[in-house]
């Protein structure tokens, strides 16, 4: 079943047209990754799905329903959660309050279970429960951002460069969690990465975005073996 479909989406990032007619589909239960250089339009694509900014042209369909005119707090209601670029945790609130905010739309009845699940996934967050989120390390903040998104029990999880600026050990942990969420919870995931190696290894399918256009697509493993992809995004890059 098709969960998410972008058809000919054009979106501006400020005065610049960052997406110039993009087609992307995500099937339910898939991990799809979007790789590309800085400024290719990856983050703009994720934000467009959430409704901020809205596309100038094209369609964003979620389970067959057009959502391009919905504001972000409405798209969140449909079960779309985003771990945005730069994490955007609330720095002057505690870890626990950040999780509470993540659960804004969920049924309070399963809050405790969801929080326990997140603490299980990232035990360090339990230790830091009452600490201000701004005092966490980069890796911990990234874990918090993911946990916060999970608190809404999303059906589609959008992740924007979760590995950026993190130590290799933490990157591995985060990619393990992503794989696990997909495998055990059947969560559908759209992952944006510059760390193409990890992302392609993990993904069922992948798109390569270049200057606002999809220039290549295929299975994750296929793109990993593709010489052009290797030359542009893998060789010489950080693994």
């Amino acid at each position: 079943m098709t969960m998410l479909e972008l058809k000919g989406v054009r979106t501006n990032y400020g005065p610049i047209e960052a997406l110039r007619g993009v087609d992307v589909t995500v099937q339910a239960g898939e991990i799809v990754t979007l790789i590309g250089a800085n400024g290719a339009g990856k983050s703009t694509l994720l934000m467009t799905i959430c409704g901020n900014p809205r596309p100038n042209a094209g369609m964003v369909l979620f389970e067959g329903r057009a959502i391009n005119d919905l504001p972000p707090h409405e798209t969140a209601r449909l079960g779309i959660a985003q771990v945005p670029e730069g994490r955007r945790i609330f720095p002057r609130m505690t870890v626990f309050e950040n999780l509470q905010l993540g659960a804004t739309l969920s049924d309070p009845a399963h809050f405790d279970a969801d929080a326990a699940y997140c603490f299980d996934l990232f035990p360090i967050l339990k230790q830091r429960r009452d600490q201000r989120a701004g005092t966490l390390s980069g890796g911990e903040q990234q874990m918090l951002a993911i946990a916060r998104a999970l608190m809404s029990r999303p059906r589609l999880l959008l992740l924007d460069e979760p590995s950026l600026g993190l130590a290799p050990l933490i990157i591995r942990r985060i990619f393990d969690v992503i794989a696990d969420l997909n495998r055990t919870r059947g969560m559908t995931i759209l992952l944006v990465e510059q760390n193409a190696y990890h992302a392609l290894k993990l993904a069922h399918r992948a798109y390569v975005l270049q200057q606002g256009l999809v220039v290549m697509q295929g299975g994750g493993k296929d793109l990993l073996a593709n010489p052009e992809v290797r030359a542009a995004y893998l060789e010489g890059g950080a693994h």
């Binding site: 901020n52 707090h73 945005p84 509470q100 916060r148």
Partner: protein
């Protein structure tokens, strides 16, 4: 002057200052909360308080005409009605004058606020008349705390009521901001509006509710001041608004405890300046504080530096 009288006088100024400070604090919360969430000084907030006072006078007058004898019941009714009316004004002002300018340069909503302030002043002047409105004392009497030969230290019931109600409201309000989902949503919008929306928080509605909450507290301040001074006019919002704004800046604009602290300090400064220096220049004292704070410590006593994100 013997030392007992000197102490008594000091304490009397303290009581008067705390009463005044409580009222400034209630108004200041509205400035600070709105600034916190949309980084804008709502210069029409003083007028919101003035409208609260007018609803108060009208309410008390109607009740006494209807022959309602119970002070407690009447007071409660007037407070509730004033809060409802004033909150509606607060909501409308935001909806009409500020929301359309979201995303516009910062100067635009500021000018819109000043326009709103002038509009509301003139609207009240036209509909209610320009002459001061008197009110029969609602709560009379008081306690004499200390009786000297030619000096009594006293606290009136209305002063006591003002201080207690303000204390209760501020404690309740702090809990609301710290513990409830609404308070959390407000703090989230304050820190990162885009992210708050991604989590499903309706940012526009949260901002509206912030205006409603600020206006409600201003309504209480308006009713209290009416009872305290017994006379109001359409222009009281300007000076009180400026003083409360000063209080918010002194405490650190954006900080809730700061607004409360700043309000009390401005009230005390005014009372002591009136008592020991000159009543005619009390406003000069209050606004000198504003200038000094802006020059020496722009973040205020409890504020934190506003770091612009890049």
């Amino acid at each position: 002057m013997d030392s007992a009288v000197a102490l008594g006088t000091f304490l009397q100024h303290l009581i008067n200052g705390l009463t005044l400070g409580a009222i400034y604090g209630l108004i200041a919360i509205g400035y600070t909360m709105v600034y916190g969430i949309i980084r804008m000084i709502n210069f029409a907030h003083g007028e919101i308080y003035m409208i609260g006072a007018f609803v108060g006078v009208t309410g008390f007058t109607l009740l006494s005409a209807a022959g309602v004898g119970s002070v407690a019941l009447g007071l409660l009714a007037v407070l509730v009605v004033s809060i409802l009316f004033t909150a509606a004004y607060g909501w409308t002002v935001e909806r009409v004058a500020y929301r359309p300018l979201r995303g516009a340069p910062k100067l635009a909503p500021l000018i819109s606020a000043i326009g709103m302030s002038i509009l509301l002043q003139n609207y009240v002047m036209l509909t209610q008349g320009a002459r001061p409105k008197p009110l029969q004392p609602v709560l009379v009497g008081g306690l004499t705390l200390w009786r000297g030969e030619n000096f009594d230290l006293s606290i009136s019931y209305i002063q006591l009521f003002i201080m207690l109600l303000t204390l209760v409201l501020m404690l309740g309000f702090t809990q609301l901001i710290q513990r409830t989902p609404l308070g959390r949503a407000q703090r989230a919008c304050e820190q990162d509006r885009t992210m708050a929306a991604l989590l499903g928080i309706n940012v526009d509605r949260t901002i509206s509710l912030t205006f409603v909450m600020g206006a409600s507290l201003a309504a209480v301040a308006g009713v209290l001041v009416t009872m305290y001074y017994g006379v109001i006019d359409f222009f009281i919002g300007f000076l009180a608004g400026m003083k409360a704004f000063t209080a918010a800046v002194l405490g650190g604009i954006g900080s809730l405890p700061g607004a409360m602290l700043g309000g009390v300090l401005i009230g005390l400064i005014e009372a002591f300046f009136t008592g020991y220096v000159s009543g005619a220049y009390k406003d000069v004292a209050a606004f000198s504080v504003l200038i000094l704070v802006l020059v020496l410590r722009p973040t205020g006593l409890l504020g934190r530096p506003d770091i612009e994100k890049v």
